[in-house]
């Protein structure tokens, strides 16, 4: 049973990668289990300057998932490279993916430059789709021209493979995926969170201080799967699929839709051992569906 996949020239033991923002900088999960079982890790979204993010409440529950409006809280790229990555290297022998956020091109570019020299980072994931960042954050994710400009600028300085993370809050995500590919992205990852809201019946007010927030978890899975399928058809670069994945079966289905690897987000929050358990269940699920090598099922739904 071969669970390994090749992602951007880097071989992952398995396609399961904790999604950015749901696994911190990784090392804290090492207290719970040996995180070297993971394919890789997408680290918490990092910006040039430290950010506290949005006021509380930042979390609301949904029938099949959750809303968040964290707003990219992180200690800033200098501290991430100088401290967080060092702590991670002590407990994680593989390479991770740095996730970069920002609100203007210059910030993105400078942040990416910091990561160029980080040895335990094998790719950069450019988050152009965070629904929780004001000023420009949304335009990067929804306007193909703006997105293309940003990606070209980053690509010029980035010495590692560049993954562009796409927003699902658009009329046609394949337009954005093509814009990313044209601008030089080496891969795309999707989906980021869907915009959602919950209201507190007691107060009559939106629960989140920001009113709306990013919806993630099982409830977004069918949307994510459709978009991965659609984007797989639109571009020739690898697609990393995510959105509501919580079982090994979900991984298989997402790969059949076209994902070369998958990210698992909210499931980690609901169950701290989610990624470990999904990875452990993969061989059994593969056997059940007579799959010998995971790489062979990537995009199967397009030609089956």
């Amino acid at each position: 049973m071969d669970t390994s996949v090749n992602l951007l020239g880097y071989r992952l033991d398995n396609p399961v990668i904790p999604a950015s923002g749901t696994f911190g900088f990784g090392y804290e999960f090492a207290e719970f289990y040996d995180i070297n079982c993971l394919g890789s890790i997408s680290l918490k979204g990092t910006t040039l300057e430290p950010r506290y993010g949005n006021p509380l409440p930042r979390i609301a529950e949904c029938p099949a998932g959750m809303l968040n409006s964290i707003g990219l809280q992180n200690p800033g790229v200098q501290k991430v490279v100088g401290e967080e990555l060092v702590k991670l290297a002590k407990v994680f022998k593989k390479k991770a993916i740095a996730n970069v956020g920002g609100s203007c091109t210059e910030d993105y570019v400078q942040t990416v430059e910091y990561f160029n020299h980080a040895d335990n980072i094998f790719a950069i994931e450019l988050n152009i789709s965070c629904p929780n960042v004001k000023c420009g954050g949304m335009a990067f994710g929804t306007d193909p021209t703006v997105a293309g400009g940003l990606i070209s600028a980053v690509k010029k300085v980035c010495t590692k493979p560049l993954i562009v993370k796409l927003s699902p809050n658009v009329t046609d995500i394949s337009v954005l995926a093509r814009a990313a590919e044209d601008a030089g992205a080496d891969a795309v990852s999707l989906i980021n969170t869907l915009l959602g809201m919950r209201i507190d019946l007691r107060t009559g007010k939106p629960i989140l201080s920001m009113k709306a927030g990013g919806y993630s978890g099982r409830g977004v899975y069918p949307v994510a799967l459709r978009m991965v399928y659609q984007v797989r058809q639109a571009v020739n670069i690898p697609v990393i699929g995510m959105g509501g994945i919580s079982t090994a079966y979900d991984v298989l289905e997402m790969m059949m839709a076209g994902a070369s690897a998958v990210m698992v987000g909210t499931a980690n929050l609901i169950h701290p051992f989610a990624c470990r358990d999904i990875i452990a269940a993969l061989p059994g699920a593969m056997e059940e569906y007579k799959i010998n090598s995971l790489e062979t099922i990537i995009g199967r739904a397009h030609h089956a």
């Binding site: 923002g21 749901t22 696994f23 911190g24 804290e28 999960f29 207290e31 719970f32 918490k44 506290y52 993010g53 509380l56 409440p57 930042r58 979390i59 609301a60 529950e61 949904c62 029938p63 099949a64 998932g65 959750m66 968040n68 964290i70 809280q73 629960i207 978890g217 099982r218 980690n268 929050l269 609901i270 169950h271 701290p272 051992f273």
Partner: protein, 241 residues
């Protein structure tokens, strides 16, 4: 943090809104001020509850029925198994206190019972000030009486001093070296304004409860801190309200 299956040993109402649930698990441990995240059937996120007591493999929580999850919890019967994350957060630091004052507002009294018992074990009788809206909302009176000197205040004066916790504190003016408080945010804010010689147990809506999501981060004088990991207990002077 531990992720465990626990067995419900009992689950009973203490008054119209507050319930007590006892959970059994081998070698269960906890420290006063720590909390658990309890999985509730058909709820996506776990629910955080302070540990109100923990000894001999049995952990007690006291919960107020306020919404969907706590409503469903009242239906959980003895013998049912529930998943929970235990040993979450950093509890009260009671090591240096010899004349403690415990201040609980409403359901916030829950973790103070565990703390009071720890003091009693060390031979220290804490002063316990419990503030409620009215006498009907009081719970665990006898339990608290056994482990400390209980002072009561109610908003409507139906029992004890009439007024809020801070007014009662000024009125009774007990001596203390450190106060330990848990309750609604306005109460904690008022206490922190009154004295910084205290520790406050805070609440926040949580995504994970174990430090992964940044959902519960507050700003403190020493930067952002997670209620679920660096907290829920913070020094009174640390919190920026």
């Amino acid at each position: 943090m531990e992720c465990r299956k626990l067995i419900i040993q009992s689950n009973r109402p203490l008054n119209a809104a507050v319930w007590e649930m006892k959970l059994y698990g081998e070698n269960l441990t906890s420290a006063p001020g720590q909390f658990i995240e309890l999985e509730v059937p058909d709820c996506c996120l776990k629910r955080p509850f302070s540990v109100a007591d923990c000894r001999e493999d049995v952990l007690t929580i006291l919960y107020k029925v306020v919404g969907e999850g706590t409503k469903k919890m009242t239906a959980l019967a003895e013998g049912n198994k529930v998943c929970a994350l235990t040993n979450l957060g950093k509890g009260f630091d009671s090591s240096s206190s010899v004349q403690p004052l415990l201040v609980g507002g409403g359901i916030g009294a829950a973790p103070l019972y565990f703390l009071a018992k720890e003091f009693a074990k060390k031979g220290i009788q804490p002063v316990i000030l419990l503030a409620f809206r009215c006498a009907e909302e009081i719970y665990y009176m006898d339990e608290f009486d056994e482990v400390g000197n209980v002072l009561i205040s109610t908003d409507n004066g139906s029992l004890g001093f009439q007024g809020n916790a801070l007014d009662a504190l000024k009125e009774y003016s007990p001596n203390f070296d450190i106060y330990f408080a848990c309750g609604p945010l306005p109460m904690l804010r008022a206490l922190a304004g009154f004295s910084d010689k205290g520790q406050l147990s805070l609440e926040a809506r949580m995504g994970c409860g174990f430090g992964a999501c940044m959902g519960c981060s507050i700003i403190t004088v020493s930067g952002p801190k997670r209620v679920c990991k660096e907290g829920p207990v913070f020094a009174a002077g640390e919190v920026i309200f």
